[in-house]
């Protein structure tokens, strides 16, 4: 009786261990799925200035819906500029390629990178990028959330 119980318990432990082992295996991130590629063209999904929503204003006033930024392996290009971290094309860099929480944009011909926090919330299964910056007075804070066009 006692032996049976011990055997059953042992079996349970082995079973549990194997289940846990399998799960742990799946949780380990693949080393290649690293650099959070942002290659592609992005448009503005939402934008605030000092916490006030800008996207509900007519696009004829803000032109935010026309803005496009394309990231390609360390370079970016801008179409239809709006108040943003940078005004012209250039290069971008993460503080940590593996787990970035900062992105720096350096316009061509400029020596000064402009830094923003880099957040990637997921909305309806799509990755977004949220950038926070001050293109004018430093107390005017803008938050743009970008979504991929394609």
């Amino acid at each position: 009786m006692v032996n049976k119980n011990i055997l059953a318990a042992l079996g349970m432990v082995i079973y549990l261990l194997s289940v846990v082992a399998c799960k742990t295996d799946k949780l380990v991130p693949e080393a290649t799925e690293s650099n959070k590629s942002i290659n592609g063209t992005w448009v503005i999904a939402s934008a605030t200035q000092n916490g006030l929503e800008l996207m509900n204003l007519p696009n004829g006033m803000t032109h935010l819906a026309d803005f496009k930024i394309t990231f390609t392996d360390g370079k970016y290009t801008i179409e239809n500029p709006v108040p943003f971290m940078v005004a012209t094309n250039g290069q971008y860099k993460f503080n940590d390629p593996q787990y970035p929480f900062d992105i720096s944009l350096t316009a061509d011909g400029s020596q000064t990178p402009v830094k923003s926090t880099f957040l990637t919330p997921t909305v309806n299964g799509d990755k977004r990028i949220t950038l926070t910056f001050s293109p004018g007075c430093d107390k005017n804070l803008y938050k743009y959330t970008l979504k991929r066009t394609n």
Partner: protein, 332 residues
């Protein structure tokens, strides 16, 4: 096994009910007996506001930190550089307040807002007219304990450096007091009474930033550069102007650049049209760099503007005169 589960479920239920009861009862009512605050100062002065308070506890015992929020122009940066020093003294002894970090969720916040956001959502800008203000939250460095039926009295001494931006400003500062457990309720004002001072005139330089009085046009943000979005609101119901009753309004502007050029944008198009946000309330938001078609090397220093009708024949300027409204593109 099942028995044990059942008993632990019972225990959970009992603890939960007890917890809810404590939550419901953990009310400590605050009363602002008086607010004493100067009504004039020079930019950069330190002024002292005194809040005379009682906090009444019918039940308890309670232990909580006291929270004070101050509503002020954002340009004053009250939350930074120790621009505010608050001490209290009274029946519970003496102590000091420190700023509440922005990652602390406010008591009573349903959506995880921090204290500054919670206060802004609940009380807005009070009786002020320009929405370029912020609530800056502070709390006691340690919790204060009370026993049932206590009604301790305290005076909060708030020292504030006003007008650090150096601008001529008139503003009605606001004060809210609560404890960090109860926070700020949606309806019950006894837990978080709020008081707005009369208009404080701060003498500085430049055009008056007037939070106290309605004006024909208001700017948001009140301080911006040509690379910011600038919103101009126009109140077509404040006084009788040439544009009274007209709903098709435009802006006629002249921008001045640092290289000495003047750029006029005065045709009545979609780019210059104001939208009616509320009856007789109009607004236009624009990016000055694009509005005036500046080149990469150009900077806008200031602009003059009028509000006009569609034909451009009737125009309204500053104070309903023929002098244009002015915007200076500076941060301080």
């Amino acid at each position: 096994m099942i028995k044990r589960l059942r008993s632990s479920r019972k225990k959970l239920l009992r603890n939960f009910t007890l917890g809810m009861l404590i939550l419901l009862l953990s009310n400590c009512e605050f009363f602002i007996n008086s607010l004493d605050q100067p009504l004039s100062a020079n930019a950069g002065d330190v002024i002292t506001a005194k809040l005379d308070m009682n906090f009444q506890t019918n039940l308890g015992p309670y232990t909580a930190r006291i929270v004070i929020g101050i509503l002020a122009p954002r340009a004053w940066k009250l939350g930074q550089n120790q621009n505010v020093k608050i001490t209290y003294s009274g029946d519970k002894g003496t102590g000091t307040f420190v700023p509440i970090p922005s990652n602390v969720v406010a008591g009573g916040a349903k959506n995880g807002e921090n204290w500054a956001t919670r206060m802004k959502n609940r009380f807005g800008i009070g009786p002020n007219y320009l929405d370029d203000m912020e609530w800056v939250p502070f709390w006691t460095t340690s919790a204060i304990s009370t026993v049932p039926n206590e009604n301790p009295h305290a005076v909060f001494n708030i020292q504030m450096k006003v007008g650090v931006d150096g601008a001529n400003t008139s503003v009605k500062l606001g004060y809210v007091v609560c404890n960090d457990n109860d926070g700020i309720g949606d309806t019950d004002i006894t837990l978080s009474p709020v008081k707005f001072a009369d208009c404080l005139e701060v003498k500085g330089t430049g055009d008056l930033v007037d939070f106290c009085n309605p004006s024909l046009t208001t700017l948001n943000p009140t301080r911006a550069l040509d690379n910011d979005y600038q919103a101009i609101s126009y109140n077509n119901a404040l006084v009788d102007t040439k544009l009274k009753g007209i709903h098709d309004l435009y802006i006629c502007a002249t921008g001045h650049t640092s290289d000495g050029k003047s750029i006029g944008i005065c045709s009545q198009t979609d780019d210059t049209k104001l939208m009616e946000t509320n009856p007789n309330q109009f607004q236009i938001t624009f990016w000055p760099r694009k509005f005036f078609n500046l080149t990469a090397g150009q900077t806008l220093t200031d602009m003059d503007y009028y509000i006009t009708n569609k034909a451009g024949t009737a125009r309204v300027g500053y104070g309903n005169t023929d002098v244009p409204f002015k915007i200076k593109f500076v941060c301080e």
